[in-house]
């Protein structure tokens, strides 16, 4: 059992060691499911690489690398059911993909547009940019499910930096007080832009924050997808059974820079990055699957090719979508547009030339 009622301790829960050896109890997962995890992790990495490449070509806006955190982000979303809610930051794009947000919708958003077709039915809130603000939302979604009596769980995910924010701590307190069916997950990737984890909190673990709020917690090797999956599965089950919230710290590492606007070489020791590269979460699962004869070299190559094809198709689809209309930012200010804003919209349109209208601009 990874979840502790009081002290999560200092030893992260692990099922696969960095060499892909089974060191804990194997969760009940079919070979197909394991291959699905592996494929989604490959997809996440390739997607991140592609958006960064598009950004370098001026075809995408600022993007935060997902690389190194694939086990955490795929593993945390995998145990969720369709009726469960997910509130994430920009670092959990892979979790959104697993929960059903189409790649093309995400590519369109990274082009710098508001997707016209955000899939509300996936019960994913749009990824949050402001740090930590989604955690109270996750707790509120869970409180609502409990008030209504639905067997619905909410998951809120943030980074290590966010645990310093008031919102995070206030939300954790609410989760405990209201015994909300929520799982609060911290992806501790070691860095909040240039500020290392040990400068965020003097506590040895972030999971231990649960003690002070009366929330059971777990400390997990976040580069071990089996450990992540199993811990979140147990926490979701606890929540659905009415046993209240869980705080989970996933120990992982941001192998890339904070975003395309950041250069981690300014503040980070390359030796540290190399040490974490040796703990690559994708390689870990790959070794495990190979050793168990669940993944042939041929299959592995096929998976690599198929994720690239899927991403190519999504980019093509997103780039074929028309740009937002110049006055489109008036559309969703409120359910109906007050007269004063209607005037402002008309005022703007007097300065828009026909060539700037969608369909004709590229």
């Amino acid at each position: 059992m990874a979840i502790h009622q009081i002290d999560p301790g200092l030893v992260p829960f692990q099922i696969l060691d960095p060499e892909g050896n089974l060191v804990g109890e194997m969760p009940a997962l079919s070979p197909e499911r394991l291959l699905y995890f592996y494929r989604m992790m490959r997809l996440a990495r390739a997607f991140s690489d592609r958006i960064i490449a598009l950004q370098r070509q001026g075809r995408a806006t600022t993007f935060g690398s997902l690389t190194g955190q694939e086990a955490a982000t795929v593993g945390l979303a995998a145990p969720l059911q369709p009726q469960d809610w997910l509130a994430t930051s920009y670092r959990e794009i892979a979790s959104l993909i697993v929960k059903g947000v189409p790649l093309s919708t995400l590519v369109y958003s990274f082009r710098g547009y508001t997707p016209p077709n955000w899939p509300a039915e996936t019960r994913c809130l749009p990824y949050q940019i402001v740090i930590g603000t989604q955690i109270p939302h996750a707790v509120g979604l869970a409180m609502a499910a409990k008030i209504v009596g639905d067997p619905v769980v909410a998951v809120g995910v943030c980074g290590d930096g966010a645990t310093s924010e008031g919102d995070f701590n206030e939300a954790l307190n609410f989760a405990g007080v209201f015994r909300a069916p929520v799982v609060i997950i911290v992806q501790n990737n070691g860095w909040a832009i240039s500020v290392p984890r040990h400068r965020q909190s003097a506590a040895p673990t972030l999971a231990a924050r649960g003690i002070g709020f009366g929330v059971p917690s777990a400390l997990v090797d976040g580069n071990d997808i089996l450990a992540v999956y199993e811990t979140v599965r147990q926490a979701v089950e606890r929540a659905r059974a009415g046993d209240g919230p869980t705080l989970i710290e996933l120990l992982t590492y941001r192998l890339g820079s904070h975003t395309t606007a950041d250069d981690a070489n300014r503040y980070r020791d390359p030796a540290e990055v190399e040490a974490w590269r040796a703990r690559d979460p994708i390689a870990r699962l790959q070794k495990f699957l190979r050793r168990r004869d669940l993944l042939s070299e041929e299959q592995d190559e096929e998976i690599g090719a198929s994720v690239l094809a899927e991403i190519d198709a999504a980019v093509r689809e997103a780039e074929a979508m028309p740009p937002m209309a110049p006055d489109s930012f008036f559309d969703y200010v409120s359910a109906s547009l007050p007269p004063r804003l209607q005037e402002q919209r008309a005022e703007l349109l007097r300065f828009v030339t026909p060539s700037q209208q969608p369909g004709e601009r590229h």
């Binding site: 806006t61 924010e165 919102d167 500020v195 909190s201 489109s328």
Partner: protein
């Protein structure tokens, strides 16, 4: 004075270095301001030069950055806090508005809060959500807090020095687009540019055009077009301190011209333009030949990068407003 061409980033960096050199009480705190030198490099090398005791990164907590700065200021230090983007000021509104700005008031003058909060703001640079917002209008109803917005390297350096010297809290907003957009001959030495004083950037006779921050170059371009296309002489005034406003400068210009346009990228309703218009109504109604026009961001959230250019005031929009107020 020894002059050197500087970007606004360099001028601000030098202003901060001079403060750290001049006054042992000055400390810098914020997110990523140490080794990383700030996400825009405004604090580049300052931790190396002045040490971690005086230039330090904090945990990721805007409210605690401002709240602890209030404590440090009351103790007698001169904290200069950085909030990484102005959109994140919302996360420390309580400490800034209800605490920093009211320390003198609630203690009956027993304590003061000489604190400078620096924050980058402004659009047109394709940032993610809440990284481009202009919040100055929000602080018009924050008694006790001054709001300063420079439009060029020279003013940036001198105004920052004046902000640090001010006995009360100052919110110092730095336009992201202007950070590296041009260099200007700027003195290497310490100097101040007074708070609360606007500056006439271009004298004119027919219409007063008020702007600040990144809208000053936009206003100047529109003024030049108006000269060429409409044959009118536009007086361009850089407000520089947007709260409290330089009423004297506003009133004397409009009494001369009888016409006025205000430009800002922040939303229109209840903003700096509304306040400038009210001042004009209160003091210059009988000089006014036409209603005051405002060219501003719209009353919507700041849009996503793909359409943000449509939101921002442009020389064409300002020119149209100049044309409108010049109609007989």
């Amino acid at each position: 004075m020894a002059l050197r061409p500087m970007t606004m980033i360099e001028a601000l960096n030098q202003a901060l270095a001079l403060e750290l050199e001049r006054d042992e009480r000055v400390v810098l705190l914020g997110q990523d301001i140490g080794l990383n030198g700030g996400v825009f490099r405004v604090t580049d090398q300052l931790q190396r030069r002045f040490g971690e005791r005086r230039v330090f990164d904090t945990p990721l907590a805007e409210s605690a950055i401002i709240g602890t700065s209030v404590g440090m200021a009351v103790y007698g230090l001169r904290p200069i806090a950085e909030i990484q983007f102005a959109g994140f000021l919302f996360l420390c509104m309580s400490q800034l508005v209800t605490q920093a700005a009211r320390m003198r008031f609630r203690s009956g003058g027993a304590f003061s809060c000489p604190l400078v909060v620096r924050s980058p703001y402004g659009g047109g640079v394709r940032t993610p959500e809440l990284h481009s917002d202009s919040l100055e209008g929000v602080f018009l109803q924050t008694p006790g807090l001054k709001v300063v917005i420079p439009s060029n390297p020279y003013d940036a350096k001198g105004l920052l020095a004046a902000a640090v010297a001010d006995p009360d809290p100052v919110l110092f907003l730095e336009n992201i687009k202007l950070y590296r957009s041009f260099r200007q001959e700027t003195p290497e030495e310490y100097y101040t540019v007074p708070l609360g004083k606007a500056k006439t950037v271009q004298a004119g006779e027919d219409v007063s055009l008020f702007a600040y921050g990144a809208m000053v170059p936009v206003a100047l371009e529109a003024a030049q077009q108006a000269q060429r296309e409409l044959g009118i002489s536009v007086e361009v005034i850089d407000l520089r301190t947007v709260w409290p406003l330089d009423e004297e400068a506003i009133v004397s210009s409009v009494e001369k011209t009888g016409r006025a346009v205000v430009v800002h990228e922040a939303p229109r309703a209840g903003g700096i333009g509304a306040e400038v218009t009210a001042i004009i109504n209160e003091h210059c109604l009988y000089s006014l030949l036409k209603p005051v026009a405002r060219v501003t961001g719209y009353d919507t959230p700041y849009p996503v990068p793909g359409v943000e250019d449509y939101y921002l005031p442009t020389p064409a929009k300002v020119l149209a407003a100049l044309r409108q107020v010049m109609e007989p």
